[in-house]
Symmetry: C2
Subunit: 448 residues, 2 copies
C-alpha cells in the first residue's frame, strides 16, 4: 500500500506553497519532542524508530494519489509541476534519533529531520503518529513490567487496540517496553516476536463439558497447554486441570478475586504434584492492579495484559510535536521558534547529553563534558543520511534490551508508577539559552 | 496486504482444535456487544461496519502466512490438512448487524456472525478491533458535535491517533459521528470524505515575516485561504489578516484564551468588512471545552478537534466482546453462555427492537410488537449471507445521516455529555429471560 496520503492535507498545501514560492529546496531542520510528560508518567520510552525509517525510505505517491490531490479544491491553483514532483518524490534528507528503547524527557528531541523543506514537512504526520503511539505503548509496558517485579508480562490487547493495524504495532511496542511477547500473530510474523495464546471461553463452551474441552486441548497442544479454568467455576476448573496432569504449561484465571483464586489454585496444583505448572492471570489488568498482586505476594507467574496496555488507557495520548527550528535560505542559516502566549519552542537543532544523574539539552554542534568529571553520552545519532540508512536499524529485540537496561539505571523516584517529586533533571546548556534569547529578541516585531 | 494474521494466536489454535476434533463445520453463532457503556458515555454510535464487511469478503491466508503458522511451537501437533484448509480459507457465513450510525446500548448485539465454528472464531479479533475503535471515535465525535450546537466540527487528529492507519480510520469514524470532514488525506481518498487544512506555524516561520507568509498563502489558496494568526501575537496576526482582505475563507486561533480572542478577532474582521470570514478554533479541544465556548457565546464558527477526538481521550477503550451463544452439533442446536463469578452472558442469538422510548432485546426468532400500540423497528439486519453481501453496504455518508437523525431522536438526558440518571431503558423479552434460566439450570454441573 502506498503511504503518500497518510498525512494531513495541510502538509501538502504547505509543500505546494514552498514549491510555488521557490522555497521547496531550502534546507530545513525539524525536531520531534514533547513539552510535558504524558499524564501519570515520569519517563517515556522512545519507540517506533524502525517503522519511521521504513517510512522515510519507502515514501511514495502513486499516480492515483497524485490525481486525487490535483482534484482537491484547495490545490486547484497549484502549478502542475508540483504534482509531477510529487510523483517522483523520494526522501533525500537526514534523520538523527535517540536509539529505540531510550528513556526520554520533556523538550528532548526524539528525532531530528534535516531535509529540503517540502520533504521535511510532508513526513510530519506519519512520524508523529508512529513514534508517538509506539512510545506511548512501550512506556505503558515498561510500567507494567516494573509493577510485575520480575514476573513475565504478555501483551494481549489486539482486540481493543485502535484498529487491527494498531494492534500489531502495540504488540511490537509492548515488547520494546519489556513484555516477553504478544498474542498478535501479525506482530509475531512481521517483527519476529514470541507469540502466546491457547484457548478462550468459546473453546470450553463449544464442547459438551469442560472435561472434554480440556482433554482435547491437551491432546492438541501437549506441553503448550494452558487451560482457561473460569468458564463455570474457577476452583472446580483448576481441580479438573490438576486431575488431567501433564503435559501442561499452565492454567489461566480470567475473573474473580485473582489473589485469592491464585492461592487456592496454586494449592490444588501443588497437591497434584504440578509445581512447575504456571498460573497466568488476565482480566482488565494494568500496572496498578498488578502492583497490588505483587505486594500481596499472589502466586501468579505470568500476566496477560490487554486493553489498558494496547490503548495506554490512563494516558492515551502524548503531546508529541514537530517543530521547525532551523532554515537555510540562500546559504544563510536562520533559527526559528514560536513565541505565542502559551506555547514556546526552543530554536536550533539540538543534542541531548545524558549523564548518570541528569540530562543537558545543548545546541547540536556543542561539545559537552570535555571538562566534566563524567563523560556524558550524546543520545541523538545519525540514522538516515541522504535518504539512505547509515546502518541496519536495530530491531525490537535490541530496543527491548536498551529499554530494560536504561530503565534499570533510572532512580527509583523516576521509575515510580506515581507522580514523582524528584523528576529526572533536564538542563539547558548556556549556548542554547543564549540562542533562545537572541532569537526571541529578533522576533519581537513580527510584522516588521 | 493479507489480513489473515491480523488476529490473536489463540483464534488459530482453537480453529486448529475445532478442525482436528471434527467440530470445524459445526455452525456457530457469535454475538458482539458490550456489557457496560464506556466511561462518561450514555450511548454508543455503532461504526466500522463497512470495513468489517470488506474484511469478511477478503480474508485470506497467504502461503507465507500459512508457513509462518506451521512453524509455531503451539501448532506443531496440528495435522497438515488444517494448514491446507487455511490456504483455501474463505468466509462462507452470515453476518447480521445494526446499521452504521445507530445508537447502541449495553447487551445489544452490534453484530452477529453465523458461520462454521472455525470461520466464526478466526474473525473475532479483527471485528472487535475495527468495530470497537470506529464506534468509540464516532461516539466521541457525536458528543463533540452535540457540544458545538450547530457549529461545524472537523477532525484534525491523525498525528495523535494510535498509528497512521488508525488516523485514517478515525477520520472516517468521526465523520460518521457527525463531523463535516477531516484533515486526513488517506481518509479523504479512501472514503471520499471532505478534507480540510491549509497551513501550520512552520509555514509562517519559514518566511521572513508574517506578512509575507500570509500574502503568499492567499496567492496560492485564494478563497480557500485560512491564516493561522497566533504564531507571534494573535491580535496582531488578525489585524494583518484583515488588512490583506479578500479572498479569505477564515482565520485560525490555536492558543490563548479562545473565547476572548475570538471576540476581539471577530471585531477586527467585522470592522474590516470581512463579516463572512470564519473563525476556526483549535488547540487541545474536546466536548467539555467546546460546551464552555458555546455557553459563553464565543463567535467561533468551526472547531478543529485533534487528539481528544482521534483517541477518545477521556474514554479510550470500549469493553466490546464477542461471545458464542449458539452451536449446532449434528443438527441439534445448543445454547451457550458463560456463568462465571463476575461475568455472565445471555444465551442464544438475539434481535433488538427499538421503540420510541426504549429497547427490547429478544430472541432472534421472536416477533415483537404485534399487539403493541407502537410498532418497533428490528435493528439487526442481514448484511452478509453465505459469504456474499446482501446489498451494497451503506457508506460513511449514509452512516452519518443515520447517526445525526438517530441522536436527534434520543431524549436530552441520554444526549447529555454527563452521566445521566435516566439512561435509555433496555428490557429483555420474556422468552429471552426464560431461555437464560433454562440454560443456566442445565449448566449447573459443568463437570458432568
Amino acid at each position: 500500500m502506498s503511504t503518500g496520503l497518510l498525512t494531513d492535507l495541510y502538509q501538502i498545501t504547505m509543500a505546494a506553497g514552498y514549491f510555488a514560492t521557490g522555497k521547496g529546496r531550502e534546507r530545513a531542520c525539524f525536531e520531534m519532542f514533547f513539552r510535558r510528560l504524558p499524564r501519570y508518567r515520569n519517563y517515556v520510552i522512545a519507540a517506533g524508530l524502525e517503522q519511521a525509517v521504513e517510512y522515510l525510505l519507502n515514501l511514495r505517491f502513486s499516480r492515483d494519489e497524485v490525481d486525487y490531490l490535483r482534484a482537491l479544491p484547495q490545490l486547484k491553483r497549484i502549478p502542475v509541476e508540483f504534482f509531477d514532483a510529487l510523483a517522483d518524490f523520494r526522501f533525500t534528507g537526514d534523520m538523527f534519533a535517540l536509539a529505540e528503547g531510550t528513556p526520554v524527557f520533556p523538550e528532548e528531541p526524539i528525532l531530528t529531520i534535516y531535509a529540503p523543506l517540502i520533504e521535511a514537512q510532508i513526513v510530519e504526520t506519519y512520524l508523529l503518529s508512529m513514534i508517538g503511539f509506539q512510545s506511548l505503548i512501550a512506556t505503558k509496558a515498561s510500567r507494567i513490567v516494573e509493577a510485575a517485579g520480575g514476573r513475565d508480562v504478555v501483551e494481549f490487547g489486539a482486540r481493543r487496540a485502535h484498529s487491527p493495524e494498531a494492534g500489531a504495532l502495540a504488540g511490537r511496542a509492548a515488547f520494546v517496553g519489556g513484555c516477553v511477547g504478544t498474542s498478535s500473530l501479525a506482530a509475531g510474523h512481521r517483527f519476529g516476536l514470541p507469540v502466546f495464546g491457547t484457548a478462550a471461553h468459546s473453546w470450553v463452551l463449544s464442547f459438551e463439558n469442560e472435561r472434554q474441552a480440556f482433554r482435547k486441548l491437551q491432546e492438541l497442544l501437549g506441553e503448550q497447554t494452558v487451560y482457561l479454568v473460569d468458564t463455570f467455576d474457577t476452583v472446580e476448573g483448576a481441580r479438573l486441570a490438576a486431575s488431567l496432569g501433564r503435559p501442561l504449561w499452565g492454567v489461566r484465571l480470567d475473573s474473580g478475586n485473582l489473589v485469592e483464586l491464585a492461592r487456592t489454585v496454586r494449592g490444588i496444583l501443588d497437591e497434584a504434584g504440578l509445581r512447575e505448572t504456571r498460573i497466568m492471570a488476565t482480566s482488565d489488568l494494568n500496572e496498578y492492579r498488578i502492583l497490588e498482586f505483587t505486594a500481596a505476594g499472589a502466586p501468579i507467574d505470568v500476566y496477560g495484559v490487554g486493553t489498558d496496555l494496547a490503548t495506554s488507557a490512563d494516558s492515551p495520548s502524548m503531546g508529541v510535536i514537530y517543530k521547525l527550528v532551523e532554515l537555510e535560505e540562500n546559504g544563510h542559516k536562520r533559527y526559528t521558534a514560536k513565541f505565542s502566549e502559551d506555547k514556546h519552542t526552543l530554536p536550533g537543532a539540538k543534542q541531548v547529553f545524558r549523564y548518570s544523574r541528569h540530562d543537558v539539552i545543548a545546541c547540536a554542534n556543542e561539545c559537552m563534558g570535555c571538562h566534566d568529571a563524567e563523560a556524558p553520552i550524546a543520545l541523538s545519532r545519525p540514522v538516515v543520511i541522504g535518504g539512505e540508512p547509515v546502518e541496519k536499524v536495530p530491531d525490537a529485540f535490541a530496543a527491548r534490551e536498551n529499554a530494560l537496561a536504561s530503565v534499570r539505571r533510572l532512580p527509583a523516584t523516576v521509575r515510580s508508577l506515581f507522580d514523582t517529586q524528584a523528576p529526572w533533571p533536564v538542563e539547558y546548556s548556556a549556548d542554547l539559552k543564549s540562542l533562545y534569547e537572541r532569537v526571541r529578541g529578533s522576533q519581537r516585531e513580527p510584522q516588521a
